[in-house]
Structure formats: structure tokens, C-alpha cells
């Protein structure tokens, strides 16, 4: 992963929030490197990546942000199952959209979901782990990129 690759993920995240609402109050802070993938918030959608790159792409958010996204999608559910489903779908959308730039050899798995403050060591990540803070409506989520 290089800076250009990380910019691709930033573009995909911005595009996702712009699809939710026309003028999103999204502030994307500069990415930072961590020894292991994180931070992990209440809900984490995990996509395993193989092919062109190996590792994982995750979207992690607290329930409060996910509830606001469900509301924008006119989904009346606010329970755990809907939030798990949504966080996995966001991870899937962001990583699948990245194939526009990375190509069809950027192979992604179906999403798996972790709930609660687990360690990222529970799943495979890459050698360099980036966290991209996404500030939206007073909440912060992270797009986590751990790819070789």
C-alpha cells in the first residue's frame, strides 16, 4: 500500500457518504499508521482481501453512527442485527468499490462482523496498517486498511 492507494479508499469513503446525503458533513482526517489494525469501535465489518493484495479492509463504527445511517436509509430497525448487517455492508461497499482502481484481481470476501472491543489480532491484516478517521455528524468511524 502506498499513499495513492490510501487516497483511493478515502475517495470511496467520501463517495459512500455523498450517496447517503447530498452534502454530507464528512471530515476525513489524515490517515495514521498503527502496529496492528485499529482502533476497533463497537461494530466492525471485516473484508478479507486476496489476489493483488493480501490482508483486510475494515469499517468500524459505534452504534450511534450506524443508527443515523439506518435512519437516512429509511430503515426503521435500530437493533443489533441491523447494525451488524449495515457495518458489514459498508465494509463490502468500500472495498468492492476500490476495484474500480485496483482491478478485478483485488479479491474480496463476504463480510464478517465483530461486535465489541476485540483485538485485531483475531484476523489477518497486512504489514502496514492504516487508520482513516471519518468524522460525520459528531461521530467518528474508522476505515482500516491492513494490506501487504
Amino acid at each position: 500500500m502506498n499513499d495513492q492507494d490510501i487516497r483511493i479508499f478515502i475517495t470511496m469513503a467520501r463517495r459512500y457518504f455523498e450517496a447517503l446525503e447530498p452534502d454530507p458533513s464528512l471530515v476525513i482526517e489524515p490517515p495514521f499508521l498503527r502496529e496492528e489494525l485499529g482502533p476497533l469501535l463497537e461494530y466492525t465489518g471485516i473484508i478479507s482481501v486476496s489476489g493483488r493484495s493480501k490482508g483486510a479492509v475494515c469499517f468500524t463504527a459505534n452504534g450511534a453512527m450506524l443508527e443515523q445511517i439506518l435512519a437516512l436509509l429509511h430503515d426503521e430497525r435500530r437493533g443489533d442485527a441491523a447494525k451488524r448487517d449495515l457495518v458489514g455492508e459498508i465494509a463490502n461497499t468500500l472495498s468492492g468499490n476500490a476495484r474500480e482502481e485496483f482491478g478485478s484481481d483485488f479479491l474480496i470476501s463476504v463480510p464478517s462482523v465483530m461486535v465489541g472491543p476485540r483485538r485485531s489480532a483475531d484476523f489477518h491484516s497486512g504489514e502496514r496498517n492504516y487508520a482513516i478517521p471519518l468524522n460525520w455528524r459528531s461521530e467518528t468511524a474508522y476505515l482500516l486498511i491492513g494490506l501487504d
Binding site: A19, A82, D85, N92, S104, V110
Partner: protein
């Protein structure tokens, strides 16, 4: 008109169902993977199907082949997060009627369905 929505995400299935709420559609079924989709389609022969690609048990492209084996005239709109051109071309070559990328734009979805129905 009978409609089948195939996606492993219930959030996406409900969003598509809501976006399609028109008087034209008499019945909407949902399936969470390709296996369930094929079973439902064999039973009901829906007029239009929206189909995700990345799903457990049976992926969307395999499901596409199975649905077209049952009915080569099936109208199937792929709705996938996989935004690369080769995947879209592959799906169309294998018989999909259209391809939309997630995140779903409701106007684009309705327009694509209209095109399918008028085809």
C-alpha cells in the same frame, strides 16, 4: 408483476424494496444468497430479479448461470459493490440484463428497472 431481491444484506434488500414501491409490483420476495434465490425462482418465476454478486453459499455469477438455465429470458439486474469494468462486462456477457454499482442511487435503480420492463 413479481419481483425477487437477492442480497446477503437485509439493509440492502429493504432499501431496494422501498425504492421499488410502485403500483406495478404485486409481490416482492427476498433471498439472502444464491441457493435461496434459485429455490424461490423455480417456485415463482419472478418477472424481474436484482442480484448481488458477493454472497455466501452461492455467489451471484453462479446464481446468474443457474437462473438463466431455468429461464434463458429471465430479466436480471446485477447490483454489486464490485465497481470494476471487467466484472460488469463478465456479468453482461453471461446474460445479465443490466449492472448497477452500490451504493444504490434510487433514481438510477428505478430507471434501470423501467428499461428492463420496457425491453
Amino acid at each position: 408483476m413479481k419481483f425477487l431481491i437477492v442480497d446477503d444484506s437485509s439493509v440492502v434488500r429493504l432499501a431496494i424494496e422501498r425504492d421499488l414501491e410502485t403500483g406495478q409490483i404485486a409481490e416482492i420476495d427476498q433471498a439472502a444468497d444464491g441457493v435461496e434465490a434459485v429455490r424461490l425462482y423455480e417456485e415463482k418465476k419472478h418477472d424481474v430479479i436484482t442480484l448481488d454478486i458477493t454472497m455466501p453459499r452461492m455467489d451471484g455469477l453462479t446464481c446468474l448461470d443457474n437462473l438463466l438455465n431455468i429461464n434463458p429470458e429471465a430479466k436480471i439486474l446485477i447490483i454489486s459493490a464490485l465497481r470494476d469494468r471487467p466484472t460488469a462486462l463478465l456479468a453482461l456477457k453471461r446474460g445479465a440484463s443490466g449492472f448497477l454499482c452500490k451504493p444504490i442511487n434510487p433514481d438510477e435503480l428505478r430507471e434501470a428497472i423501467e428499461l428492463l420492463l420496457n425491453d
